[in-house]
Assembly symmetry: C3
Homo-oligomer: 344 residues x 3
C-alpha cells in the first residue's frame, strides 16, 4: 500500500476505541484479510464462518468483537468492528497522490491566495481572488472560478469545476468531473421563448463533505445552495438551486433533488430518487431507492415507491401490482356469479 507506518497495538486500540487482550507493545505495520495477512499485519475476525482462517492466519494480531478463545496471537476487542475497520483502513490506506508543490504548468491568477503545503497539478486553473487553503490538492483540469474558496486539506480530483463565488470547506473530497455552481435551471416563459432568470447566488459546501464523480450542484437563484457538514453524495447526483442538505445526510447515485428542497440531518436518500421542488425531508428520514417524493416527509419517517408511501405498504402494493391481472379476473367472476344470484 505504499505507506511505512508502524503502530503499537496499544496505539491502534486507542485509535479505534478498543481494548487490548495480549501484548500492547506488539508492532503492527499493515492490515490485511485473514488469508492474505503476513507477520506484522493486523486482520479482522467478525464472523464465525471464518473461524478456521482466524486460527490459521499469519497476522500478528486480530481485531474482534468478542475475545477469540484459544487464539495464540494478540487481540483488540471493539464494540463496532465495521467502524474499527473503516478507521484503521484509513490509517493504512494510501493518501491521494500529491503533486510536489505548485506546477509551473498550472495557471494561478496573481491575485489568488494559496496556502502552505498546497499541491497543484499541471493544467489546474485558479481565478482572481480565489483562496486555496493549506495542504489542499487540485488535480489536473480543476477549475476554481473567481472569488471561489477551497478549504484546507480538501482534495479536488481531475476536471472538477467550481464556478465563481462558491465556497468549499475543509477536508472535502470532490471526485472527478463534478460541477459546483453551474446556473440553476430557471426561466420565465414568454411569447419570445424562455427568458433566463439570472442565477445570482452561490454554492456553499461545508467541512467533511464528499461528492461523487460527475455530480452537479447548481448555484442558488439568490442566496446559497448549501451542503452541510459531513454530507456524502454519490456519483451522477443532481442538486438543484437553493437546495439545503443537512449535516451527515447521504444521497445515493442518480438521484435528483429539485429546487428549494430542504433536506434535514442524517437523512438517507437512496439511488434514482426524485424529490419534488419546495418540499422538506425531515431529520433522519429514509427515502428508498427509486422513490418519487411529491410531498414533505416528516422527521424519522421512511418512504418507498412512487408515489411515496410507508415501506410496509409499498411491500404490499408491490406484491398486489403483480397480482392485478388475477384481481381483475376475480372481480369479473364475482360480478358474473352475483348476477346469477340476482337473477334467481
Amino acid at each position: 500500500m505504499g505507506h511505512d507506518l508502524e503502530l503499537t497495538l496499544e496505539k491502534i486500540a486507542g485509535l479505534i476505541n478498543g481494548t487490548v487482550a495480549g501484548n500492547g507493545g506488539c508492532i503492527i505495520s499493515g492490515m490485511n484479510s485473514l488469508d492474505n495477512a503476513k507477520e506484522g499485519d493486523i486482520a479482522f475476525y467478525n464472523d464465525s464462518r471464518y473461524r478456521e482462517q482466524a486460527f490459521a492466519t499469519k497476522a500478528s494480531a486480530l481485531i474482534v468483537a468478542e475475545k477469540l478463545e484459544g487464539y495464540a496471537g494478540d487481540q483488540i476487542l471493539v464494540a463496532n468492528p465495521k467502524l474499527a475497520y473503516a478507521r484503521l483502513a484509513a490509517m493504512f490506506a494510501p493518501k491521494a497522490p500529491r503533486y510536489e508543490g505548485i506546477s509551473k504548468d498550472a495557471c494561478i491568477d496573481e491575485t489568488a491566495v494559496v496556502g502552505s503545503g498546497v499541491s497543484i497539478y499541471p493544467f489546474a486553473f485558479v481565478g482572481k481572488n480565489a483562496v486555496i487553503g493549506d495542504n489542499a490538492i487540485l488535480f489536473p483540469g480543476v477549475f476554481i472560478g473567481n472569488n471561489a474558496k477551497v478549504g484546507s486539506n480538501s482534495v479536488l480530483h481531475p476536471n472538477v469545476a467550481v464556478y465563481e463565488n462558491c465556497i468549499i470547506g475543509a477536508n472535502v473530497i470532490i471526485h472527478a468531473g463534478c460541477v459546483i455552481g453551474s446556473d440553476g435551471f430557471g426561466y420565465v416563459q414568454s411569447d419570445e421563448g424562455n427568458v433566463k432568470v439570472p442565477q445570482l447566488g452561490n454554492v456553499m459546501i461545508d467541512d467533511d463533505v464528499e461528492i461523487g464523480a460527475n455530480s452537479t450542484i447548481d448555484r442558488a437563484a439568490n442566496g446559497t445552495t448549501h451542503i452541510k457538514r459531513g454530507v456524502k453524495i454519490d456519483n451522477l447526483v443532481q442538486v438543484a438551486h437553493n437546495v439545503v442538505i443537512g449535516e451527515h445526510s447521504i444521497v445515493v447515485a442518480l438521484s435528483g433533488i429539485s429546487g428549494s428542497v430542504n433536506v434535514g440531518k442524517n437523512v438517507i436518500i437512496g439511488g434514482q430518487v426524485g424529490i419534488k421542488d419546495h418540499i422538506s425531508i425531515g431529520d433522519r428520514a429514509i427515502v428508498g431507492s427509486a422513490a418519487g417524493v411529491h410531498k414533505s416527509i416528516a422527521e424519522g419517517e421512511a418512504v418507498l415507491g412512487n408515489p411515496e408511501m410507508p415501506p410496509r405498504l409499498w411491500m404490499e402494493t408491490r406484491a398486489f401490482i403483480r397480482k392485478l391481472p388475477e384481481l381483475n379476473k376475480k372481480v369479473r367472476e364475482l360480478e358474473k356469479r352475483l348476477k346469477e344470484v340476482e337473477e334467481k
Copy 2:
C-alpha cells in the same frame, strides 16, 4: 454585483415593457429585495403579504403589477412581474467572467478561424479548421474538435467537449462538463459480440440554447442530432443520436431521450423522464416528472406516470395504488359473502 450600470426609470420601463407612475428621470443603479434595497435601487412588489416591507423599503422605485396607492416613491407598472424581474436582473447581473483575449496557454490550431473579441482561457483546445465566433468565451479545459463551429457570444464553461464537425449557434450557454457529439449508442449483435455501427453524423445546436452541467448529446448515426432555437436543457440529461428537439422546449434534469425521438416546439419534459426511441412528442405537450413514455404524444397533450397516462387519471391511479391492499381485502370479503349467499 460588480457592475456600474445606471439607468433612468423611463429607460427601465421601456426595457421591461412597463409604464412609469412618477418621475421617469429617477436614476437607478441597482436591483434588490424590498428588505435589502438602498437608495438608488429598484425592488419588486408583487404580493400583498409584503405590503409592510414595500412601505418601509429604502428602494428609490418599485416594480408592481398594480399601482401601490400611498407609496411615496416612483413605480413601474408591468403586466408580468416575473418576466420583468428576469429581464431586469439580466441587465444588472454580472456577465460570465472573460479572460482578456486568447491565452498563450491555450492551444489553437493554426487553421482554426477565431473571431474578434473572443476570450479563450488557458488549457482550452481548438482543433483544425474549427471556427470560433465573435465574442465567444471558451473556459479552461474546453475542447473544440476539428471542423466544429461555435457561434458568436456563446459561452462554453470549463471542460465542455465538442466533438468534430458539431455546430453550436450564437448566444448559446453550455455549462461545465457537457459533452456534445459523442458517438451514438449503436451496435449490431453478432456471434463475435457487439459490432459498432459507426456514428457518421453530427450535432447541431441552434441559437439561444442553454445546456446544463454534465449533460450529453450524441452525434447522429447519419445526419444530425438537432437542438433547435431557444431550447433549455438541465443538468445530467441524455439526448441520444438523431433526436430532434423543437424550438423553446425544456428538458429537466436526469431525463433520457432515446434515439430518433422527435420532440416538438414548446414542449416541457420534467425530470427523470424516459422516452422510448422513434416516437414523437407533439408541440406544447407536457411530460410530467418520472414519466415513462412508450408511445407518441399528441400536440398539447399532458401525460404523467409510467406507463404514461393523462394527469387526472394518474392522480387517481396513484391514490388507488396506495389502496391496493385494501381493495384486495374487500374483494376477498365480497367473495366470502357471495359464497354464503350462494349456499343459501
Copy 3:
C-alpha cells in the same frame, strides 16, 4: 469522409462474409445511401419500399440480402445486411483524429512508459509508472493516474479521468468526461457522522469495451470492479464498486448498477434501470428500460417494471394500473348489489 480507401468488390465481400453476384474486380471507393451514392460507391438495399431508389441509384454496386433481379450493377449477397453495414461503414468511416505524436504541452511523468505510435494531445496528464500502449490516443484533458495502464489502440476522448492503479485493455473507446476508478460509496455510520471506508481496489476494463460520455465506474472497496471484454456502456451510467459485468453485455443510458452486482455475459440492461446491490443477473438476461430489479435474475430471463416481473405480466399490469379507478368503482358497485341481495 476524408479517407482514400479503394477496395475491390471481391475484397469487400470477403470482409463482410458475402458472395459477389457480378464483377468481383469492380473498384469501390466509398459507401452511401441509395439516393446520395455516386459512381464508385456501394449502397445498401434491404427493404422493398426502396426498390425504386435501388434501380435509380448511381452506386456502382449494392449489398443485398437477396439478389435483386433486373438490377444492372454488381451485387454482394449477405446473410445479415445490418451487420454487413456496420462492418463496411467501419472500414470507410473516419478514424478518431490523431495528434501527431506526443504534444510538448502534455505532461507525462518521466517514469511513465509510452508505447510506439501513441498520440497524446496537449493538456493530457500521465502519472508515475503509468503505461500507455502502442497507438493509443489521449485527447486533451485526459488524466491517467499513477500506475494506471491503457492498452494498445485505445482511444480516451477529452477529459476522461482514470484514477491510479486502474487497468484499461486494448481497443477500448472511452467517451468524453468518463470517470474510471473514483472511490466507491462506502461509509460506516457512527455517532460522529459517516466514516469513510477506504476504497482500496481498482477498476479493470478488458479489451474491446466502449463506454459512453460522462459515465462513472467506481473502484472496488477491495479487489476489482471488472468490465469484461466487449461490454458496451452508454452515457451517464453509474457502475458501483465491486460490480462485475460479463462479456458482451450492454448497459443503456442513465442506468445504475449497485455495489457487488454480478452481471453475466450477453446481458442487455435498458435505460434508467436500477439494480439492487449484491444480486446477480444471469447470462443473456434482458432487463427492460426503467425496471427496478430487487432480486437475482436467472439466465436468459427477461424482466420489466418496478418491481421487476416477466414482460407479459408487466404488459398486463401496466394496462390494469390505468384501469384501477374503474376496478375500484366496480368493486364498490358489487358491494352495494351484494348488500341488497343479502338484505332480501
